[in-house]
Amino acid sequence: MATVAATPALRTARLRAGWLLGGVVAALAAALAGLVVGPVAISPLDVLRELAGLDTGLAATQANIIHEIRLPRVVLGLLVGATLAASGASYQGVFRNPLADPYLLGAAAGAGLGVTLVIVATAGGGPTPVAAPVAAFAGALVAVALTYVLGAAGSGRASTSSLILAGVAVASFLTAVQTYVQQRNLDTVRQVYSWILGRLTTAGWHEVRLLLPYALVTFVVLLSQRRTLDVLAVGDDEATTLGLDARRSRLLVVVAASLGTAAAVSVSGLIAFVGIIVPHTVRLLAGSSHRVVLPLSMLFGGAFLVLADLLARTIASPAEIPIGVITSFFGAPFFVLVLRTARRGVTT
C-alpha cells in the first residue's frame, strides 16, 4: 500500500492482501479437512496437536494414519492441484486462448504416453517409478514441439488457432499410440488404466518427493513471468515494440508449464478440468492480471484438488472413485455457473 503513495488515485493490478489470505485459508482448510475425514475418525483438534508435535493421546496407529497416509496424500493433492492450475493459467495466457490447458498442445497426452511406456517397461505395481516424471516430461515436450511444428507448418508462424488445431491432432494421435501400447500389454493394463483415471490412492512421501522439485521449478519460473504474461496479452507485435522478446518468453513459459504438467501427470494420472476451472474462477472473481491469477490459482487449485480427492475417497467408501471423474463431474457444471454469474455481474 505504501508504494502507491506517490499517486494515490492510481489502482493497478496487484495481488490484494485479502485475496492472498483467502487463498491461504482455503488451502489450509482443505488440507485440514483432508486430514480429518476418513474411515478412522480423528478430531480436528487432535490432528492439529499431532502435527504440532504436542502430546495427543492418539493411538500409534492413528498417528501413523495422519503422518504416513493422510498427510502425504494431502500434500500431494496441494502440489498437483497447484501445478495443474498454474500451468493451465499460463497456457491460457501464452496462447491467448481461454480454452488452453495442459490437455491442449497434447502436453498431457504426451506425458501419458511417456508414463504408460514406463509402467509397461517396469511391469507396473508398486510406487511411481522415478523414471516416470522424466518420461512424462520428454513425452510432453515432444508433444508440444510436434504441435508447434505442425501449427507453424502452414504459415511459417504458429497462430493461436492453428496451434490449437494441431494440438487436438497431436493429442488424438498420442492417445491412440498410448491405447495401443496399453492393449498390447494386458498384464499391466489395470495399472495403466487406474493411473490414467487419476489417483492419489497410492500417494506416499515417495510421490511427494518425486514431484516436489519439478513443481518448485515450475512455480518459480511461472511466477517470475507473471508480469511478462500480462505484456504478452497484447500480442507478439505490440509486445515486441514494448521491448519484450515475445518468442523467448513464450517458449520459457511453455516449457515450464509442460514440465509441471508432466511431473503432476506422472504421479497422479490425468486429472482434467483443474487447469481450466480454477484459473477462470480466479479471473472472474479477483481480476485477470497474471500477477493475481497465477498465485491464487496455485492456492485455490491445491485446495480444489484436495477437496475433490476427499470426495473421491468418501463418496463410495470403502471403494474409491478416480479423482479425474470427480473433477470432471463437478468441474463442468460449476464452470457454467461461474460463467453465468460473472456475465450477469458485467452487464448490470
Binding site: 508504494t3 502507491v4 503513495a5 506517490a6 499517486t7 488515485a9 492510481l10 489502482r11 493497478t12 493490478a13 491467448r96 517470475s224 508480469r227 511478462t228 500480462d230 505484456v231 496479452a233 497484447v234 500480442g235 507485435d237 505490440e238 509486445a239 515486441t240 515494440t241 514494448l242 521491448g243 519484450l244 522478446d245 479471473r283 481480476g287 485477470s288 492480471s289 500477477r291
Partner: protein, 261 residues
C-alpha cells in the same frame, strides 16, 4: 531523430518497399500518405522493427542494429491501427504496459513508473477512467488510451498507424490535436500513416507520398497534395481548395449524362 534510407522489404515474393528513405527531425511530424497497397503500414512496421528487410536505420543518432530490444522500445513507440485489447484489463494497467522497457525483466513497477502512468493519464484526461476496462471504451476513448500508453513509454519517436480510422470527424480532430499538443510539449517526433489527406496536410509538417513501394513525392502539403498527384497516384478526381494556405481535398463526381432514347 530517426533516419532511414534504402528501405527494401519483401513480403513473400512481393517487393512491398523499394529503396524508401525518411528523415524526421526532433519534434517534427511526418505523415506517410499513398493509395492502398503503397506500403505505408509496412514502412511503419519496418521502422518499429516488426518486419525484416534491408535498409539503414538510425534512431537518435545510433544505428538500430546496435540497439537492444528494450533500448529500442525506449526510443520508438508504436500506436497500432488494430491493437489487441486484453480482456479484463483496466485503463491504468494497459497504460502501465507502456513502462515495460523501463521495468527490469523480472521486476515490478516502481513509484517512478506509476508516476509516468499518472502523467500520461492526466495529459490525455483519462484519470477518471483509470479503473474502467479498456474493452468497454468508445473508439475515441480507446485511441486516447493507446496514445497514453505510447506517452508512458517515454519514447521520443512515436509511430501512429492510421490514428483516425474508425473515428468520427470530431474525434479525429480531437485525437490529432492531442498528438500535436504532446508533440509540442514533449518534443516528440511523430510519423503517422494517414488516409485522410486533408487532415494529413493540416497536422503534419511534411508529407511523403508512397506509390508502389517508392517515395514519389515529398515535401510540404501544398506541393504534395496537388490535383495532378492525386489523379496520377490515387486515380482520384479531386479539386484542391486552399483554405488559409491549407489544401482541402474535395472529391467531385461528373454526373453521367442521361441519354434520351
Amino acid at each position: 531523430m530517426i533516419r532511414a534510407s534504402g528501405v527494401t522489404v519483401h513480403l513473400g515474393d512481393v517487393r512491398v518497399l523499394d529503396g524508401v528513405g525518411v528523415d524526421v527531425a526532433d519534434g517534427e511530424w511526418l505523415s506517410i500518405v499513398g493509395p492502398n497497397g503503397a506500403g505505408k503500414t509496412t514502412l511503419l512496421r519496418w521502422l518499429a522493427g516488426l518486419v525484416p528487410g534491408d535498409g539503414d536505420l538510425h534512431i537518435g543518432g545510433r544505428p538500430s542494429a546496435s540497439l537492444r530490444r528494450r533500448e529500442r522500445a525506449r526510443l520508438v513507440a508504436l500506436v497500432p491501427q488494430a491493437p489487441v485489447i486484453p480482456e479484463g484489463m483496466t485503463v491504468a494497467d494497459y497504460v502501465l504496459l507502456g513502462r515495460t522497457p523501463h521495468i527490469r525483466p523480472l521486476g515490478v513497477e516502481g513509484p517512478h513508473d506509476l508516476a509516468a502512468v499518472h502523467d500520461a493519464l492526466s495529459h490525455l484526461e483519462l484519470v477518471d477512467m483509470a479503473d474502467r476496462l479498456v474493452g468497454t471504451l468508445s473508439g475515441g476513448e480507446r485511441q486516447r488510451v493507446l496514445i497514453a500508453r505510447a506517452l508512458a513509454q517515454g519514447s521520443p519517436v512515436v509511430l501512429l498507424d492510421e490514428p483516425t480510422t474508425a473515428l468520427d470527424v470530431g474525434h479525429q480532430q480531437q485525437v490529432l490535436e492531442l498528438v500535436d499538443t504532446l508533440r509540442e510539449v514533449h518534443g516528440l517526433s511523430v510519423i503517422s500513416t494517414m488516409h485522410d489527406l486533408t487532415l494529413a496536410g493540416q497536422y503534419a509538417d511534411r508529407l511523403v507520398l508512397l506509390d508502389g513501394g517508392r517515395v514519389v513525392v515529398e515535401g510540404a502539403a501544398d506541393g504534395v497534395l496537388t490535383e495532378d498527384n492525386l489523379a496520377r497516384y490515387y486515380g482520384a478526381k479531386v479539386r484542391i481548395i486552399h483554405d488559409g494556405g491549407q489544401p482541402v481535398i474535395l472529391p467531385f463526381r461528373e454526373r453521367r449524362k442521361v441519354v434520351e432514347p
